[in-house]
Symmetry: C2
Subunit: 410 residues, 2 copies
């Protein structure tokens, strides 16, 4: 970990100034699970009345913390408050029956300390897989954390959950409704192992709006699909991914189904956090947006976007600022989605690169090479077949990625 | 090309000593398509009576040479001989209608020069995608090539078709039948973009056995699935992959359906060539075998093997000699295949690493770390669910891969 001292060149200028969200308190501690000289536990205490919704990794080897959250997320009693406890340094994944023991020990202790039902204590763990979780280290710091809680600790919370992240990730947005203003804020972690269907990515979202549980879940699931499920760093998927949203209702303003301003605000916030995760992709030097237009259908559009985004040959070409559009053709061809060579068009930004089954007449290598020097690269592919469209985000693939991942545990 | 001066550390000691295959003549030339100071065209001339079978890339953006071969492979007239012409340096893929023009120009010229029907002239092109093929350069050398043909030019042929390959790939085996001995020999090229369902991989196999066309196709398709379709370098798939087998019949020995000795011999030869392709994976420092045992079914076994073999996190861990079995769990989990955490077992070679949902009692990091120093790594996963098994081969993922692929065209 100590090797990664420099912040990603694609990082935002600074962590945003996030105001308190009424009904949400944060606390962090240094439990010494793996890292030295930094915090590694975050506790979020949510006032009574808070509704919580979540989406989780689809991995068949997902960790017990995820299984535990999945079970609890369906319970409907919000009357006694809730809590979220997260540690970094150890994923508590693939640790056999001990995984369950650790999750139960931690959530039970949080329940005791905060006087909240254990069924309302959600936990996540992120870090190395397969090593026994020293859960007593977490339990030992809970009393002090409960005493130190603050409405203003969100940045520290974002820092406590980092693993190979090079910067803490946070975002905030205010949504104006007819009844007044609500705030949505969120934090995230994740850099390697990010892929569709969620990855070593933990995301916690908070709002002071009052939203019924089912409505909240519906907003989260729909928007998750076009934000956190539309990004990738290396195509790998973790055993621990979790996105939770908590609505405290403390603003007194209710948000119903399909409320466009709220939906847009939450989409914007989740898009921002998803981009921050990609921008911190291990070794990333370019932020890449892939637009698929007019594919046969929506499913084909996503298949094509993922095939391009996860192709090592496309990603290494971008790292080398090589406008190698032949590799995009290759990635389209191998995807299994419907494509007709002579109908498709490829663009770099606004530059038409290929059409009619060949290089475009006005395209030149110089134009392409110049475009590739940008730190944000937009690749668009128009299939000319139907109405399926999607946008997907990824980063390039540099030798830095290899060096980070070939000695992650040392 | 000039950057890659060193031979892969996983290369065989030397090119094998391959005897003449009766009825097969080779010739090579330096046409100057892209490379300087080396040969870049191979011509194989096959005697009348030769039967040919083939398998091809499944890419939807496959090159016209592949489409042309696919059409010709079904024709049944072997009476007038056949030819195979291959160039390196330009893939003639995604070159619009000009792709077709070039293939027709080349195959027509070969037909003229050799007095063979154009329908019996098979062509392949490998190299950069999307650049116009200078087919006249190939046509210009054909007369000289026809004049220079030799039964002993197979090594030179293997060299002429190389692109980023660091060594020529060849193999030979003799099969003893009740009627006498037949010989099978083959050459291959391919290093990046190798994935299941074929990749920038060209393979040409020759035998002096006498085999009916349908029988030959059946041997090739079945064995291809467990050899060239069971390897991967980067999970990418090319637009030009081709495996052709030519049976001249000149030994006078007939091979019928399901003849076990021939099938075993051809499997052994194709496995050897497939391994040589993986061992020349761009930047490869380790040869990796993945065995999946007792998966729910055969399809799940292959899905699991590919998920592990193509995971950048698994491949970078192997490059770093890190026995990071947590990443294997991750790759199993994300695959979509059926897996039960507590039933699966993971082995490094003979070392039991994980079982019962956790690290095995006798496993230690030291044991794993020691094993990872080998240049051949065998990872076995026993799912404990059914009877689906498969073996798959790949290589590790080093920063050398990134540097080769971030400036392939420069």
């Amino acid at each position: 970990m100590s090797k990664i001292e420099k912040v990603s060149p694609l990082a935002p200028v600074s962590f945003p100034d996030i105001p308190a969200i009424k009904g949400v308190n944060f606390s962090t501690a240094s439990a010494g699970i793996k890292y030295q000289g930094r915090s590694d536990v975050m506790l979020v205490i949510l006032d009574p009345g808070t509704e919580i919704a979540g989406v989780f990794t689809s991995s068949s080897t997902r960790s017990f913390a995820v299984i535990d959250c999945e079970e609890k997320i369906h319970l409907k009693d919000s009357s006694l408050g809730a809590a979220i406890v997260v540690n970094s340094g150890n994923a508590n994944a693939f640790t056999g029956f001990r995984g369950k023991v650790s999750v139960e020990a931690i959530t039970s202790a949080v329940s005791e300390v905060l006087n909240i039902p254990q069924s309302r204590v959600f936990s996540s763990s992120t870090g190395v897989i397969g090593e026994e979780m020293p859960h007593n280290l977490v339990i030992d710091v809970l009393n002090k954390m409960a005493a130190d809680k603050s409405e203003h600790g969100i940045r520290e919370a974002a820092e406590a959950i980092m693993t190979t992240d090079t910067y803490p990730k946070g975002s905030v947005i205010k949504v104006l409704t007819d009844e007044g203003e609500v705030t949505i804020a969120g934090i995230a972690k994740g850099s390697g192992m990010i892929a569709p269907n969620m990855a070593t990515m933990l995301v916690y979202l908070f709002t002071d709006a009052s939203i019924e549980k089912e409505v909240l879940q519906s907003y989260l699931s729909v928007i998750n699909d076009k934000t956190f499920n539309s990004i990738s760093v290396d195509g790998d998927t973790s055993t621990s991914d979790t996105v939770l949203i908590a609505a405290t209702g403390k603003s007194g303003i209710s948000i119903g189904k399909n409320q466009r301003n709220f939906s847009q605000g939450l989409t914007s916030l989740m898009t921002d956090l998803a981009h921050q995760v990609v921008r911190d992709g291990e070794g990333a030097s370019k932020f890449v947006e892939i637009n698929i237009l007019n594919a046969k259908n929506k499913a084909d559009a996503k298949t094509l976007a993922k095939s391009i985004a996860n192709s090592p040959l496309v990603k290494t070409a971008i790292a080398g600022e090589d406008p190698n559009w032949g590799r995009i053709i290759m990635a389209i061809g191998k995807s299994g989605a419907h494509a007709e060579r002579d109908k498709l068009k490829i663009f770099f930004g606004d530059i038409l690169v290929a059409e009619n089954g060949w290089v475009a007449p006005n395209y030149s290598e110089e134009l392409g090479a110049q475009y590739m020097k940008n730190s944000k690269i937009i690749i668009s592919v128009d299939l000319g077949l139907g109405r399926g469209s999607t946008t997907f985000w990824t980063c390039d693939f540099t030798s830095e990625y290899i060096s980070i991942n070939s000695d992650y545990r040392s």
